[in-house]
Structures are given as C-alpha cells and as structure tokens.
C-alpha cells in the first residue's frame, strides 16, 4: 500500500485529502501514477486532466514525473505552489 496525499484544487477535485492505495506493478514512475489514477474515475480524471501542471513529491521532496516511485512511503500530488 502506498499513501497518496493531495492538496489545493487537486484535493478538492478528487474529493479527499489522502488515501492508501494498492498500485499495480506496472506503475513505475510518477507519470505512470498520474495515468493510472486518471482511470479510477471522473473525479481523478478531472483533477489530473492537465498532467504536466501537476507537481509530484515523493517522501516530501519534489521529483520530476519520470522519477521511479519504487519504495515511496508517501506520494503527494498538487498544483503549482502559490505561497509567500
């Protein structure tokens, strides 16, 4: 099981802040994860529609979409940041 966490409009569109999910072995990278989640339903498809915009963090560090997710305890998906 992998813990997924969502923030801002990604969280609102998916309809939850976090979940534990069993990922198929074919999901190897952050990009694979986005593609897989989009098959889980309309809410996911809507939230992750513009894949390139979505930022990914593994174990609380930013990664590129081609980063392997093997061994990740926590994967976060969120929009571009707007703090400060």
């Amino acid at each position: 099981m992998t813990k997924l966490v969502y923030f801002a409009w990604v969280r609102e569109r998916i309809g939850k802040g976090e979940e534990e999910i069993d990922l198929p072995a074919s999901v190897r990278t952050g990009g694979d994860l986005l593609a897989y989640l989009k098959t889980l339903g309309e809410d996911y498809a809507h939230a992750l529609e513009h894949e390139k915009v979505i930022r990914i963090a593994i174990n609380q560090e930013h990664v590129e979409h081609d980063e392997p997710i093997l061994g990740a305890r926590e994967i976060a998906l969120f929009p571009p940041m707007t703090g400060g």
């Binding site: 923030f7 963090a57 609380q60 571009p80 940041m81 707007t82 703090g83 400060g84």
Partner: protein, 154 residues
C-alpha cells in the same frame, strides 16, 4: 558558514518581525546587517476579504529549511529566520517573514530575496481567495514572473 542558525516555522498565529529580528541578532558581534522582509495580505482593490493558506505539513517546513540552508551557504549568512502563516488571513495581516543576518548588507538583502523567490515557487503552500461579497473564490494561479524570478538566481 555551517552552524548558522536556521529557524523555520509554519503557524496560524501572527508573528512579531522586530522581536524575531532581535532574537536572530542577539549576542552577535560579527553581524553588520539584518534584512527583514514581511509579506502582507492585499485586498486586490477591495475585491478580497481574505486569503486562505493551505500547506503540506512536514514538507512545507522541510522545503523552507532546504531553501534557507542553500541561502546560508551561497551568501555566507550568519543566520536566517523564515516564518509562514497558514489558515485564513485578512487584508493588512502578515503572511510571511524572512530575516537574513550577514556581515554586510548585500549578502543580507540577497539572502532574503533568494529565500522569498524560492519559497514562492518551491515551498508547498497554496492560496485560495475569499471575496469581499462573501463568495468563496478560486485558487490563486501560479505566476510565470515568480518562476522567472527564481530562475534568475541559477
């Protein structure tokens, strides 16, 4: 310089910029400059009643810490404090505080500016607008100008 204090906090409550600056500089005889930057909530010409700040607990603190340590190393700072508020913040209230302590002013100005430019684009915080007429607004879009400001440091 390694061992320079890096103080990072994410909190709902307000902060006291002068008190934080005094704390960072307390007892230092090697510091010649302290730059204190405070970011405030604007009402955007009367349009907004509040901004609501969401963050990724744990990563927000870790990412600001990483940015601050980079600044310490790059500008040889003597210390740095970064405090970011979360929750609902009204126009005129404080949002973010960055204090850079250095032997000379250029390093302190650059250090504070570097931390703000990276914080805006890399620290996991998101702003949602609340309108003055009571409606909940949308999420603030990231600005390309903020990306360019960050890239100017690389």
């Amino acid at each position: 310089m390694t061992g320079a204090p890096v103080i990072v906090r994410v909190q709902t409550e307000d902060f006291d910029a002068a008190a934080e600056a005094a704390r960072l500089a307390a007892g230092r005889r090697d510091a010649g400059a302290v730059v204190t930057f405070t970011g405030l909530c604007r009402d955007e010409g009367g349009r907004l009643s509040a901004l609501e700040l969401e963050h990724y607990p744990g990563m927000a603190e870790a990412e600001i810490g990483r940015i601050c340590r980079k600044a310490v190393e790059r500008f040889s700072l003597l210390g740095i404090t970064a405090i970011h508020r979360v929750g609902k913040i009204a126009p005129g209230e404080n949002i973010v505080l960055v204090i850079a302590l250095a032997p000379h002013r250029h390093a302190a100005f650059d250090g504070a500016s570097f931390v703000m430019d990276y914080l805006k684009t890399s620290a996991p915080f998101w702003k949602k607008e609340h309108f003055a007429d009571g409606r909940e607004g949308g999420w603030v879009d990231a600005k390309e100008s903020d990306d360019r400001a960050r890239e100017a440091w690389s």
